[in-house]
């Protein structure tokens, strides 16, 4: 089993302040990732689909 050497740190007391930040980092990261995905969809729509569509 591959574990991080920091696994021992796991305790609820350390966890609580982190949870209170409301997963800010995850919102930013997942938000950026989702935005890129949706951006790619629109890029395809605008630069591939629309130019080829029937006038």
């Amino acid at each position: 089993m591959i574990n991080s050497e920091h696994e021992a740190q796991l305790n609820d007391a350390a966890l609580e302040p982190i949870l209170r930040t409301g997963a800010r980092g995850a919102v930013v990261l997942a938000g950026i990732a989702t935005a890129i995905v949706i951006g790619l969809w629109f890029a395809f729509y605008l630069f591939v689909f629309v130019p080829r569509a029937a006038p």
């Binding site: 089993m1 591959i2 949870l19 995850a26 395809f44």
Partner: protein, 541 residues
């Protein structure tokens, strides 16, 4: 504590053995149809190879990984030995026998119909019979999974089913139902024709049955990867699973909406009504919901690990993550490939946008990125994590593992990005060679050669992978301890009945199947004049 180590190890080795062989075929195919090689003297060899590559990669590898990993989860999560050990060996035997039965006619060139079958072309019956045996073998695993969960629930009334087992069972149930489509196509349409009992076949109906399997099978492939995201990664990197109920909701959603959406593979087909195409398109959009939820939950779980290690700021926690840990690396690579592959997938499923790239090389690029990339890299990660528990020996070389994961990631990107690009240019799929000397195709030559290079990097990665595993079998013995899963930030003491069983979700899955597939199938079956002559393949005399 894993009780049936040999059983699990046998599944993984057979899966990876087939994978290793099929990967070489894949790279040979990339090379042979590229500008680097002269046109193949016998194009049938190419289609034969594609059939073997696809059959092994799509049916044998993921099925065996899901089965082996599934047995490991059943024992480790329920903390008791597997019930039905002999049946499990029988299931594995059936999968192995089926693979051999199928691969013989394929390698003799008697069934070069590709793994998607394509009736009215019909090859040697043993190919299809072999595939059916693989599926039936996997159904034994499904039954054992359900039986083991049921027995555990009986002994632990009211207790929450461990998340890993909940997800594992959801995957098994999804597979049980989604395999039915192709099974009907094989048993009632193709095999009778292959045996000479019938001379005609309704190709349109066959495509509808196959679509029933074709999309949800991707989620079946995906389940082990998602289980690893939720139940292995947070533990391995020193974090916590952000939310246990959200994980259950995601897996339940997959169970409901992964299957009744397959007609999006038939957007361009003439035998399905436009209304049903839209219906399936709408539900396909819905299946991206559990993935969006997963992306957030896993990012949040990883964030916890980063913050516990002292990470600060909106993204500063990323820097302090344990990047030397192979599982950290694997999940990061997997997410990047999932993102790009997912973007391609959203384009494919969008009712109209599909027409720009339907059935071009784009599609091949897409599913290699999602399956070969995002999913298979997690299969590697699962193997690395599980191996010491199976062999009782330590995997020590993190450097080698990281090199393997890096090469797989880079190789897959170099392989699939140009592949998507030539698809946009309109390069059709599954041709044994192309004329790159023509000005209209000259622009594709460089991209195709890039893909060959990407494939070569993947072969290097494969060698590294086997090196890690084989060295693992020779390493000094260690006591690996209990095989554990992630702990949630808030471990559930009780969960709602809906999220502790599958009654509701399976009912919805069956109901949606009737709504979305009932009429098209019944209507096509009622048509009398749409069966067409069977065209035999491999029957040259």
């Amino acid at each position: 504590m894993l009780h049936n180590k040999k059983l699990i190890l046998a599944h993984f080795w057979l899966a990876f053995g087939g994978f290793g062989f099929a990967l070489l075929l894949g790279e040979w195919q990339m090379y042979i149809r590229s500008p680097l090689h002269a046109w193949l003297g016998n194009p049938e060899l190419y289609y034969r190879s594609v059939t073997a590559h696809g059959t092994t990669m799509a049916y044998v590898l993921p099925t065996l990984v899901a089965m082996g990993f599934g047995y490991a989860i059943t024992e480790a999560a329920l903390k008791r030995p597997l019930i039905g050990r002999k049946w499990a060996w029988a299931g594995l035997g059936l999968v192995l026998a089926g693979t051999i039965v199928a691969i013989i006619p394929v390698s003799l060139g008697l069934a070069s119909v590709l793994y998607t079958f394509y009736p009215p072309m019909v090859g040697n019956p043993f190919y299809y019979i072999g595939v059916v045996m693989v599926v039936v073998g996997s159904w034994i695993w499904v039954a054992l999974t359900v039986i083991n969960l049921h027995a555990w629930k009986r002994d632990n009334p009211g207790a929450p089913v461990p998340l890993a087992m909940y997800a594992n069972t959801a995957g098994a149930l999804l597979w049980a139902w989604t395999a039915v489509g192709a099974a009907i196509e094989l048993l009632f349409q193709i095999i009778p024709a292959a045996l000479g009992l019938t001379t005609t076949i309704d190709a349109g109906l066959a495509r509808v049955f196959f679509s029933w399997t074709l999309h949800a099978i991707v989620y079946f492939w995906l389940f082990p990867a998602y289980i690893a995201y939720y139940t292995i990664v947070p533990r391995a990197i020193g974090g916590r699973l952000f939310s246990d109920p959200m994980a259950r909701i995601s897996f339940s959603l997959f169970l409901v909406v992964a299957m009744p959406i397959g007609v999006h593979h038939l957007f361009a087909d003439p035998q399905v009504g436009a209304g049903f195409k839209f219906l399936h398109s709408a539900f396909t959009a819905l299946v991206s919901l559990p993935t969006l939820l997963t992306v957030f939950t896993i990012c949040a779980s990883v964030e916890i690990a980063g913050r516990l290690r002292g990470g600060k700021g909106a993204l500063g926690w990323l820097k302090v993550l344990p990047w030397d840990n192979p599982l950290m690396l694997a999940v990061a690579f997997s997410f990047v490939m999932l993102g790009f592959g997912g973007a391609g997938g959203l384009i494919n499923m969008s009712y109209q946008l599909d027409s720009s790239i339907h059935n071009t090389q784009w599609v091949t690029g897409h599913f290699h990125l999602i399956f070969g990339g995002a999913i298979v890299i997690m299969y590697f990660a699962i193997a690395y994590d599980l191996w010491p528990h199976l062999t009782g020996r330590a995997l020590t070389s993190f450097r080698l593992m990281r090199a393997q994961l890096w090469t797989w990631f880079v190789g897959m990107i170099v392989l699939t990005f140009p592949w998507h690009y030539v698809g946009i240019l309109g390069m059709p799929r599954r041709m044994a060679f192309y004329d790159y000397t023509d000005p209209a195709m000259a622009g594709e030559a460089a991209s195709v050669m890039m893909s060959v290079l990407g494939g070569a990097i993947l072969v290097v990665s494969e060698i590294l992978f086997f090196t890690v595993l084989i060295r693992g079998h020779r390493a000094p013995r260690v006591e690996a301890g209990e095989y554990r899963f992630s702990v949630a930030t808030h471990e559930p003491h009780s969960v709602p009945a809906a999220l502790n069983g599958f009654g509701l979700w399976v009912s919805l899955m069956l109901g949606l199947t009737i709504i979305n597939y009932g009429f098209p199938i019944a209507h096509l079956m009622a048509l009398r004049d749409t069966s067409v002559p069977v065209v035999r393949v491999g029957g040259a005399k």
